[in-house]
Every structure is written in structure tokens, then in C-alpha cells.
Subunit: 190 residues, 2 copies
DNA sequence: TGTACATCAGTGAACGCGCGTTCACTGATGTAC
DNA sequence: TGTACATCAGTGAACGCGCGTTCACTGATGTAC
């Protein structure tokens, strides 16, 4: 397998092309020839690097997860509590910023999760990370409803980000504030 | 066009078959021959009633909207405010019950909205109705953030219902309570 | 009430389109001596 | 440093699968007289 530099580079270009297309259209609507065309390659080139479109999306998810892991490590040591509105705001903003940065794979996975069982699981796994974080914070205050409440909060964040980050460069400040108010009020014990 | 009774009945059976399939699989995964098979008809029969799969889904949406209109009329006169936790609870429960009753078309439209531009609009329109209701309630307390807050609340309801109503008969009581707490806290003035 | 004809819903095998996928070929890069 | 050969990435026209869609036919229902 020992991939050549050139091959690795082409694979990256195909992934970059797919990411670009994902911010413009829908995963389901993207044809393999769209990806190769966007990357300036011939159709057959695709199959030297990926078995099919799902394989490429899985690769994007892996890259994404690696990037997130790195991010987490580099910001480790931050205090990590959810006691007041500012804490909530930090969490919401982090989600918003992360979603915007990885919009292509976030949208792609959500879309694919609405079609295939495989990506329903991938989506559930990614979302599960976020849910676990919130559930952890809510464990004391919400008891055995923490998981459901966390799930609801994360689903809201996802749905709003998905919708609002479609289209040209939204500023988002207002969205973050509104979501923060909603969650802070709903989640911080009165 | 003046449809015969028999033709109308077959069309209904095809729609019923599609609704059944939608609670089991995904809109995208359903083949036209799956629908005709589920309805006990030959493949060609489909095209006497619908031009394609999207046409059938649109028909399901129309039926759904008619049913909702009827429902609204029959429950008109209810007081309609959002001043305390009980009001919120009623709204949340109504959404939950409505979603469960029309799970097939709710899920189908959401799934289709992740694929085609046409159903992105249909989905936005249906969701827009709910958003308008909440935005109306929130107008005074939330000013120019009412629309965004309403959008977030409805998105949360939708995402949670979509997820929780998949699989066999969830009781939902707990879900409704948890969502109610979240929204009541987040939305009723502090 | 009966016969002859018209209309219409339903059938399912056959067709064909669109797109994923293959494969014989080209050209570039690497390796041996 | 040069030549001959091997390996590998890339090409794009051709192939073929899966599924949507058609269509000639059947049988049932409706209508005329």
C-alpha cells in the first residue's frame, strides 16, 4: 500500500473537492464524476483512492475526528464547568465555531444519516460525543433525565447550525446569544 | 380525470403502503416496486396514480395538511397562551402527539429535505407553521430574537421526536416532561 | 334482460436511462546495473 | 551518467447494473340500444 506522495495528494484533492461540493449541494446529489471533475481529475482516478462515495465520506469523518482530537488536546486544561450563563455561552459558541469549520462533514453525515443505516450510526456516534459532554454537566441537576435533556440540547444546536450555516457567511453572534439564553434558562437550575 | 371509486381506492392503498414503509425504512431507500409490492399491486399500477415517488410524497403531505387543518378547526376555541409551564406542556405534548400520528410524512419530508431542493422547501414550509406559532408567543418577551428562538425550539422538538419515535412504541411521557422543563425554563421570562 | 361495444384499472415482462465502475492504455517516476 | 525495465498514478471511453418507466395486453365495469 505504501502510498506515494502523489497518490496521497490526489486523495486529499478529491476529499477537498467533496468538501467544497458538500457546502453547495447535498451528499445524495453529488455524483462521483462531480467530485473528480471538481478536483480536475478523470472519473477512473477516484477508484484508485476510494471504493465508493461512502468510503470518501467515512474518510472525511476520520479526518474530522482527528482534527477534533487535536483541538481538544490543545485546549485541554481549560476549566470545564456549566455553572452560569457564561459557561453555557462558551459551550454554545464552541459548537457553533466547530460546526462552521467542519460544515461539510457535519452536513454530509447528517444528510447521509437520513438515507443509510450505516451513516445513521456514524451520526449517532458523533452526536453522542456532544451528548455525553452535556449529560455529564447535567447529571447532578437533572438525574435520570440528564441524557434526554442533553440529547435535546445537542439536537437543537445541530439543527440550528445546519440551517443557519447554509448560505453565505452568517455572522452568528445573534444566534449564539439566543441559543445561550434558551439553554441557560432551560438548563441551569432555577 | 373523474376518478372511479376503484382507482381512488388503489391510490389510497399505495399511499398507505408508502406510509407503512416510511415507518420502517428511509424515503430514499424505498423503491417504487417496494410500494406496489407492499400494496399488493403490479409495478405498472403505480403510474396510473402518481408520476413518481416525489409525487406520492407530496400527496401524503397534502393529506397531512388537510388533516391538520381539520384538527385545528375541531380544537378551535381552546385558550391559546404561553404564560406558564402548563401552557408549554400542552404545546409540547400536542407536537409530540401530532408527530407520532403523522410519523411517516414527518420523517419522509425531513429525509427528503436532506436530498432535494424541492423538499427542502416543503419541509421549511411545514416547520414554518410551527415556528410562526411559537414566534407569535415569544414576540413580546424576545423582541427581534423571537423568530430565531422559535426556530430553535421547533427544531429541537422535531429532532427529538424524529429520533425517539423511531423504533417500537416509546411512551414519551418522560420525553415530554423533559422538553417542557427545558423550554419552559428557556423561554418563560426568567 | 340481453348483446355488443367502449372505457378504464391493473398486469408484468421488456425497455432504457443514468450513473457507478472497469480496464486497456499512456505517461511519469523509481530502480537496477 | 545512461539505458532498459518495472511500477504506479492517471485517463476516459466503454460497459453493465439497478431501477424507474413504458406498453401491449387482460379482465372488469359501465353504457347504449
Amino acid at each position: 500500500m505504501a502510498e506515494s506522495v502523489k497518490a496521497r495528494q490526489t486523495a486529499e484533492e478529491l476529499k477537498a473537492a467533496a468538501r467544497r461540493l458538500l457546502t453547495r449541494t447535498t451528499y445524495a446529489e453529488i455524483k462521483i464524476t462531480d467530485i473528480t471533475e471538481e478536483a480536475g481529475r478523470a472519473a477512473g482516478s477516484f477508484y484508485r483512492h476510494f471504493t465508493d462515495k461512502d468510503h470518501l465520506l467515512r474518510a472525511l469523518v476520520e479526518d474530522f475526528e482527528a482534527a477534533v482530537r487535536e483541538q481538544v488536546v490543545s485546549t485541554a486544561g481549560h476549566r470545564h464547568s456549566l455553572a452560569d450563563r457564561d459557561d453555557v455561552r462558551r459551550h454554545v459558541e464552541a459548537y457553533w465555531v466547530g460546526y462552521r469549520r467542519h460544515h461539510a462533514e457535519m452536513a454530509g453525515v447528517l444528510q447521509a444519516s437520513m438515507v443509510s443505516a450505516e451513516f445513521r450510526e456514524v451520526h449517532a456516534r458523533l452526536r453522542g460525543r456532544q451528548v455525553a459532554i452535556w449529560a455529564d454537566h447535567l447529571a447532578e441537576s437533572h438525574g435520570d433525565r440528564a441524557a434526554t435533556a442533553a440529547f435535546a440540547v445537542v439536537s437543537m444546536l445541530e439543527a440550528v447550525c445546519y440551517d443557519r450555516l447554509r448560505g453565505p457567511s452568517p455572522d452568528g453572534g445573534d444566534v449564539v446569544e439566543t441559543l445561550t439564553d434558551l439553554i441557560a434558562g432551560g438548563v441551569l437550575g432555577r
